[in-house]
Amino acid sequence: MNIIEKAASEGKTTLSEYESKQVLSAYQIPVTREFLVYNEKDLIKAARKIGYPLVVKGCDALIAHKTEKNLIRTAIDSEKKAITAFNDIQAGMTENNAAVIVQEMIIGRRELVAGLIRDHQFGPSVMFGIGGIFTEIFNDVTFRIAPLNRQDAFEMMDEIRGKRILGAIRGMKDVDREQLSDILIRIGQIGIENKMIQEIDINPIIISKGKGIVVDAMIVLESS
């Protein structure tokens, strides 16, 4: 894929959130609607296209950095707030006129994680589990070796301890398991078809109206 080759030729070992989502999107994995902007003018244009409420984020590759460096503003409901957020975030980033993402805000209380690693013995392996900022603390994840079939993906959803959050609970809809399994199968496919990809992090996938949508992602490339 072009994005991957371009990044690799530039010596990058991680794809930014925006680039990572383009890769996912090319495999029909649903991601947030978003634009990359560098100035206020484009910010306002993007915001109008997406509509409010929206999220403004510094486009840093590392998901953890974004929270640590305070580069995320959510629930932006006006142009004025969008401009303030944009300026704050750009000021907090090391580069001048750094890239900022304007993205639709996904409303949902259930956060899942998915990912991929390239195991040295078994090759690309897909992860699925409970997502959000406490992913590593809960460590409620399960793996499958790619390629995955539908049964593998369904079994993964049944294997995690927190599997009940996928059901209809507290007024929330049942998660669309078919759609979620499509995401997992496609992540495996990305790993098989793109040898340069070493790791993929997708956290969170937010469940909105029963369907999963990728809100943040990062792809790690092989360091040459």
């Binding site: 070992t13 991680t14 590392l62 998901i63 994680v113 990912g115 991929l116 690693i117 195991d119 013995q121 078994f122 090759g123 392996s125 992860m127 589990g129 992913t135 590593e136 460590n139 994840v141 399960t142 793996f143 499958r144 070796i145 593998d152 079994e155 294997e159 070493q198 790791e199 993929i200 992090d201 956290n203 990062m218 790690v220």
Partner: protein, 465 residues
């Protein structure tokens, strides 16, 4: 791939049923290498044995040859015992002679971590690949095929059975082989693979999966050489028969520093669990669980149900058994009124319980008839799929009666019986149960865990069928 698998199976079949065996580097005196000859003699190997020794004219009354080339007829299997630095020319000579398979006992290769060791092993692999002669090891014990009279150690059983066993450790294969008959476990074949310069655990899964004489596959694994091939052969084998895997080296330590969360979360254990799930295998941890599982899978029939009846003398063990049953997702059978009525006829009224788990109390240890009649009543109940008996008599004679009667009841009612040990029970009688095809477990927890494991596998296979 399919053609290659057929070829591999044919090659291994020929190696496992050799008409002649050369033991190269067989010592004259009583040294470790002598065990390989003793093992063949012990199992009454019926083919030709050719000791190869640079000077000896004969060893232990068997005509010896100075080199493999000198042997007049064909050689199917070569067991090579010479030091590692002298192995390569001998392996080449074997290939030239048309030997079908060679076991390389000696260590000193890749496992040493040296460049020389690694290179020497690669050279062996090259000989195997270019000649078509298959290699076991190096650093392995080789093969045990009771029906062929081939063994890697004296004292292993001559009797064949349904278990095909793969081991990365020679000593572990040997220890299992030695204790197996006590547990009623018998082998179609067992192999120790060592460094796997040629034949790998995946190759063996392909072979055993297709072998009509193998009904259960067990393996002790240290590392997997070719992951995708292993997973593929595992899937194929599991669809035909249970594959029980004990994998070591799944420590959380030693994980590389990862950039991503996924990388940080991906432990070897997680990946192995994925392989087990996708491969349809059964994972066990430790020697006891491995042998328990091999015993259970060897003995329990197809189509076992989940309704368990428990019969115990000690009340505490009855309660514990009921709990283990629930923990494993099995159910306590609801006994029929008729069964209750029968039991109330001979079970003492106090200190006992007539509902499942049936607690026959202390008196039963003196009056063995109580155990026997209760076990028969439970086995006769149509709502019972399997009978777990936790019993013991006060003396040897009572225990003999207990053993014989339970074996008799098992035979008559045709339902699975599972016997659980009470410390103090005679070990030779435990052996007798296993010989009769009744699994004998050290604890109810282990018994219920294996029973549930077998049932889960049977359901898995039914779904795949």
């Amino acid at each position: 791939m399919i053609k290659k698998a057929h070829e591999l199976i044919a090659q291994l079949d020929a190696i496992f049923h050799p008409e002649s065996v050369a033991i190269i580097g067989l010592p004259r005196g009583f040294k470790a290498g002598k065990l390989f000859l003793m093992a063949l003699l012990d199992l009454k190997y019926a083919g030709r044995i050719y000791p190869v020794h640079p000077e000896a004219k004969e060893i232990d009354g068997i005509r010896a040859y100075q080199s493999i080339e000198e042997i007049p007829g064909t050689v199917d299997l070569a067991i090579i015992l010479v030091p590692h630095h002298r192995t390569l020319p001998i392996v080449k000579a074997c290939a030239a002679k048309g030997v079908k398979g060679a076991v390389l006992f000696t260590a000193g290769y890749k496992e040493t971590g040296t460049e020389d060791g690694r290179r020497l092993e690669e050279a062996l692999t090259h000989v195997a690949h270019s000649s078509g002669m298959r290699l076991f090891g190096p650093n392995c014990m080789g093969i045990y095929v009771p029906e062929s009279g081939i063994s890697f150690f004296p004292g292993l059983s001559k009797k064949s059975g349904p278990v095909g066993f793969i081991s990365h450790s020679g000593s572990l294969a040997n220890i299992l082989g030695r204790i197996a008959p006590q547990k009623g476990i018998y082998f179609s074949s067992a192999v120790s693979l060592g460094n796997e310069c040629d034949i790998s655990s995946a190759d063996m899964l392909a072979y055993l999966g297709n072998d009509p004489k193998t009904g259960v596959i067990g393996a002790y694994l240290e590392s997997i050489r070719n992951g995708p091939y292993f997973l593929e052969t595992l899937k194929n084998a599991s669809e035909k028969k249970p594959v029980i895997l004990w994998k070591v080296g799944l420590n959380p330590e030693g994980q590389k520093a990862a950039t991503s969360h996924t990388g940080a979360l991906a432990s070897q254990k997680h990946i192995w669990e994925a392989v087990v799930r996708q491969g349809g295998a059964i994972s066990v941890k430790g020697f006891d669980f491995l042998t328990d599982a091999l015993m259970g899978f060897s003995m329990l029939p197809v189509g076992i149900g989940d309704r368990i009846a428990i019969l115990s003398g000690p009340g505490g063990m009855a309660v514990a058994a009921a709990e283990a049953c629930g923990d494993e997702g099995l159910t306590l059978a609801r006994l029929s009124d008729k069964t209750h009525l029968k039991l109330s006829d001979f079970v003492p009224q106090t200190g006992t319980s007539l509902s499942n788990p049936v607690d026959v109390g202390l008196t039963a240890s003196l009056e063995m008839e109580i155990y026997i009649r209760a076990a028969r009543a439970l086995a006769a109940d149509p709502g019972v799929d399997a009978v777990v008996v936790i019993g013991v008599g006060l003396d040897r004679k009572t225990n003999e009666l207990y053993t014989e009667s339970m074996i008799q009841a098992h035979r008559e009612f045709g339902k699975p019986f599972i016997i659980v040990n009470i410390p103090g029970f005679d070990s030779d009688l435990a052996h007798k149960f296993c010989q009769a095809g009744i699994p004998f477990f050290e604890t109810t927890e282990r018994a219920m865990s294996v029973y549930a494991m077998v049932r889960r596998y049977q359901i898995f296979r039914q779904k795949r069928a």
